[in-house]
């Protein structure tokens, strides 16, 4: 299990909250598309922001499977760990 940097979940949380236009105190296991209402058309913006902010290249299939803050954080942490 890769170590997750302390601020990673909160930074991703902020991106989700901004794109979905919701308060940042949503549940970490909430589906960001279905429960938080992030438009599917905003998925590309979300992906590009994650890649730019965290300096990782995210596989599209893996991104499609990651639907909660917990899963997205784990995906980004894993990619950063591999790059390190």
């Amino acid at each position: 299990m890769k170590e997750v940097p302390v601020d990673l979940p909160s930074r991703i949380r902020d991106i989700v909250a901004r794109l979905a236009r919701v308060d940042a105190d949503f549940r970490a296991d909430a589906d960001v598309f279905r429960e938080l209402g992030l438009q599917s058309a905003a998925a590309l913006d979300f992906l590009l922001q994650l890649e730019e902010e965290f300096g990782v290249a995210i596989n599209d299939d893996a991104f499609a499977r990651a639907r909660t803050l917990e899963q997205i954080t784990a995906l980004v942490a894993d990619l950063r760990g591999r790059a390190a």
Partner: protein, 399 residues
């Protein structure tokens, strides 16, 4: 006398992938009424404009390219089925011209055709097969819809922000005696519609429907689907303005679609779309057609293109059946999307307050057959004489 055209080119920063290039070419006609043709070779976009094109057309092309290319992310298409024909015969050429010559198809105006004889029978055969498939395999309820759809409903479906270029708005003269009388007098000796004075048209309350399934969702507004999915089948006219791309039977402004629409829980809709794909594969077998089923995206316009195409492709929301029209085109572009298999997640359930299962927003999906395209593909693959047609279709089409 043919029009003089001028050709210009623009270099993109990098070569677009084949899908993006194809979509840029297809939608290029919507940039200006002066654009006649758009083609991409490598990084170079070549476009032709008519002789009276104003200078601002070049700026429009640049802005259009910028909007289409920005944020685009390539997702490779996934082919889930491919079939070759058992009959070893070349694909027919010049099919549209030959159908017109036999008076089985008549071109009425841009994007509008009439069908007769075997062409009409072929359309009926495909439609009847799809209708039976819908009722026998899914227990679909048959419904008939108007060609008009309220503009407000289409707006809620997201059509205005996704596909504004394809809209066909229905205008009528505003209820005003003086305006109508002026219009009438202006046409006493004039068959062509003359320029209309500002304010004479009412805001279009309705559009011509670009797809049939919107009517299904509108009809279910505020309801709960219980005891299994709600499945509807319908056939009707659909209208999509396609500018310089409208030609033959391939791209019509006014065309006929058979649809099956599924409304229910996620699992109910997913399993039925998958079954629908299998049933269309069986159609290809029965009718000995070559074809391929693969992921696809809709023709979203401008800045809507990158994000919405990406969402469709990455989540495999749309598959298309593509039937080949040519044996010898290495570009692979001489083929025709004749059916599509679509999921919309719970977008229409949320938009129209339709619930299913545990009171959650219903999921929806649909399968559509573009019937004139099937006619074109059938004659291309089986020829213009009955001998080349498989027995399963011959009697129905040729009597």
């Amino acid at each position: 006398m043919s029009e003089t055209r001028a050709t210009f080119s623009i270099e993109l920063d990098k070569e677009p992938d084949a899908d993006l290039a194809s979509d840029i070419e297809k939608q290029g006609g919507h940039v200006s009424p002066h654009v006649r043709h758009v083609e991409i070779v490598g990084r170079t976009v070549r476009y032709e404009v008519g002789e009276r094109a104003p200078d601002d057309v070049h700026g429009k092309i640049e802005r259009y390219l910028g909007a289409m290319v920005a944020r685009h992310r390539k997702i490779p298409r996934k082919v889930i089925h491919e079939r070759a024909r058992a009959a070893a015969r070349p694909l027919e050429r010049d099919v549209f011209a030959r159908l017109v010559e036999r008076r089985w198809v008549r071109s009425v105006a841009t994007g509008q055709v009439t069908l007769a004889g075997p062409a009409l029978e072929a359309l009926r055969a495909v439609d009847e097969d799809a209708r039976r498939l819908a009722t026998a395999s899914f227990g679909a309820r048959e419904e008939a819809y108007p060609s008009l759809i309220p503009s407000e409903a289409l707006g809620r479906c997201g059509y205005f922000s996704s596909f504004p270029q394809s809209l066909s708005m229905v205008a009528h003269l505003v209820e005003d005696f003086d305006s109508i009388e002026r219009f009438r007098r202006a046409h006493l000796d004039e068959a062509r519609m003359r320029p209309i004075e500002p304010g004479v048209f009412a805001a279009p309350e309705c559009c011509l429907s670009p797809a049939l399934c919107y009517h299904t969702y509108l009809g279910l507004e505020g309801s709960k689907v219980i005891g299994g999915p709600h499945v509807v089948t319908t056939v009707g006219k659909c209208f999509r303005y396609e500018s310089i791309n409208m030609k033959g039977l391939e791209r019509l402004w006014d065309f006929t679609m058979r649809e099956i629409v599924f409304v229910g829980t996620e699992d109910e809709v997913l399993t039925r779309r998958a079954r629908g794909i299998e049933l269309v594969q069986e159609q290809l077998e029965r009718w000995d057609l070559a074809g391929r089923i693969e992921t696809a995206n809709d023709p979203f316009f401008s800045a809507a293109y990158a994000g919405k195409s990406y969402a469709q492709l990455r989540s495999q929301l749309k598959f298309e059946l593509r039937l080949p029209l040519s044996d010898d085109d290495p570009s692979g572009r001489r083929e025709l999307a004749c059916a599509s298999f679509n999921l919309h997640d719970n977008f229409f359930g949320r938009t129209f307050s339709i619930s299913a299962g545990d009171d959650a927003a219903a999921f929806t999906g649909c399968i559509g057959w573009g019937l004139e395209r099937w006619v074109f593909a059938l004659f291309t693959q089986h020829g213009l004489e009955p001998d080349g047609w498989p027995e399963s279709l011959r009697a129905r089409v040729w009597g």
